[in-house]
């Protein structure tokens, strides 16, 4: 096991190098830099050159790549030009806002998807199954930003039930409970949209693995020995059906910490995705690059985690 993890971690190195080269190349294609993007009329050519020298923007691209990549190896992701803070600190500051909605959306979508999957497998080809399937397809096909906008229009503008956007009401007075309740109200819409978006794929997955398990011999045995249907489904079938699903938990990792860019933009949620979109407009390269690499790392670690979880959950699988 330990050997397996070490080997997988070593394999990540060339992948990360490849990713960093691609990401850096794309960002180097952007004409203009942070200095020009700020569009400061008082900026003299001399001052601009001075600033470029300070930020290392005056060097040729390939040199900048090696400096950047070299720093990253030592754990230094650079300093965000816009926030004047190390990239990792900026990420650390905003990532939890993203995490809150992503986490609750994940729990909700797993709960609903498990139920939907189990029931549509149990009653395969019934009306219920067909309705669930259709609903799932709609969820899978949803353009996230459009559905977000529709919900804001209905629930915030027309019905005035929920706030339009943001995370807290400005100038809110009261204790910590009022504060928490305020955040909850603001997060209902983004969480529901995120849930809808991830429900589709998950419940199709659960349905398939449930269908596979239900046809196994041991389920017939369980029924034959007179167990209640509920016990058969939820104890014998469900537990086994969840084994492959555990793998999916690993893949959730980048989603949990990566921020939902479009959602955060629409709901003006101060998460990391929102900050990232701003950094692109500001041409804040160190942050853009650092955060993209951070996302890629999360994906790779998530994949590894998925494989490890599979090995832990199913003793028949041996990781070599």
């Amino acid at each position: 096991m330990k050997q397996y993890i070490i080997r997988r971690l070593l394999q990540m190195i060339p992948t990360l190098i490849g990713i960093s080269i691609i990401i850096f190349t794309i960002s180097a294609m952007v004409p203009g830099d942070y200095i020009t993007a700020r569009d400061n009329p008082n900026m003299t050519a001399e001052r601009a050159a001075e600033l470029r020298a300070i930020y290392g923007l005056d060097k040729p691209d390939w040199q900048r790549y090696f400096i950047w990549a070299g720093n990253m190896i030592t754990g230094n992701f650079g300093t965000s030009l816009q926030h004047k803070l190390p990239v990792m600190e900026v990420i650390g500051e905003y990532v939890w806002n993203s995490f809150i909605i992503a986490f609750f959306a994940m729990i909700l979508s797993w709960l609903i998807a498990v139920l939907a999957g189990v029931f549509s497998a149990k009653f395969q080809y019934s009306l219920l199954d067909k309705l669930i399937t259709l609903a799932i397809f709609v969820c899978m096909a949803l353009p996230s930003f459009f559905i977000g906008l529709l919900l804001i229009k209905w629930f915030a503008l027309d019905l005035k039930l929920l706030p339009v956007g943001g995370m807290t009401t400005a100038g809110l007075k009261g204790g910590s409970w009022t504060y928490i309740w305020d955040v909850v109200k603001h997060s209902i819409l983004p969480i529901s949209v995120l849930t809808m978006l991830s429900i589709g794929g998950l419940s199709r997955y659960f349905r398939t693995s449930m269908l596979e398990v239900i046809r196994q011999d041991y389920i017939r045995t369980a029924r034959a020995k007179g167990l209640k249907e509920r016990t058969v489904i939820f104890k014998h079938a469900f537990r086994n059906a969840m084994i492959p699903a555990i793998t999916l938990l690993g893949f959730e990792l980048p989603g949990l910490f990566g921020g939902a860019m479009i959602m955060e933009q629409i709901f003006a949620w101060p998460g990391i995705g929102h900050v990232y979109l701003n950094s692109i407009n500001m041409r804040d390269y160190p942050f853009m690059l650092g955060f993209t690499i951070f996302l890629a790392m999360l994906t790779l670690i998530g994949n590894l985690l998925a494989d490890l979880l599979y090995g832990i959950a199913d003793p028949r699988i041996r990781l070599k």
Binding site: I23, T133, V138, A141, P143, S144, L149, L150, I262, L277
Partner: protein, 307 residues
Amino acid sequence: MSASASPITENTNYRPKAVDSPWRTAWRRFSRNRLAVIGSILLVLMFIICFIGPFLSPYSLLDYNLKFKNLPPNSSYWLGTDYLGRDILLRMMLAGRISLLVGLVATVISVIIGSSLGAFAGFYGKKVDTFIMRLADIFMALPSLPILIIMGVVLSDLQIDPKQRIYYLMVIIGVLNWTTIARLVRGQMLTLREQEFMQATDALGLRDRRKIFKHLLPNTIPVIIVTATLSVAGAILSESALSFLGVGVIPPQPSWGNMISAANNLIDFSKRPWLWIPPGMCILITTVAINLIGDGLRDAMDPKMKK
């Protein structure tokens, strides 16, 4: 279907079904799947409306008529007009052409790249395989939306003409999506190349290229078709998200995504829903239809693939 031509003998149930080609069987299974048929009808309708509809419209996109700006839906402007007095219905149909085309072409690009790289990896194995699959790993770990957005910004900064920009978008979306197909095709290749008909091609002394493109790849077509269908929906969603953020298809070229970005303006968003709800519904209908078709195809062509 020669059954109707020859007299059926009474005491056998034999019908010459066995001669059905796999395509015909697949078609029969597909046409029995009600959701898939509904999806196909919706998609065909969407294509007809978007590609033929504009010819029937009495308006043109150059009709800037500020007297008729921001009209709600009425009898002469079925879906209302925008801030320049342009007919929303016409704009939406033209946007549909672009969005559908971007989705289709991007998918064709990713199919071409994905299936040939996957085929090479599976056929040659060893170093070629390792190299291509490592490349696939890299692309799989690239966060696609951030990369797409950065690329969109690059296009804006290079000040590419809005008309040409569409082609760049197709290529970018296509290139970022090749890995799924490559992996599937490679997997199929690994089993296919061990089968007997490949020994026959060896015996015939066929060249590698002929083996791959004439004998192996055609066998992976069902897998490719199913995955490609579903990825058209993905490509349309990517394009619309980018256009919504202002880094995809940009005005004056209409696309469903950038029409929805009218909602970024608070007054348009709350008081003039006809500006952004219809294009959103178009995206929704199209992607749902494509997903239904893709799922129907999967059941019809290869029940084993069903997930």
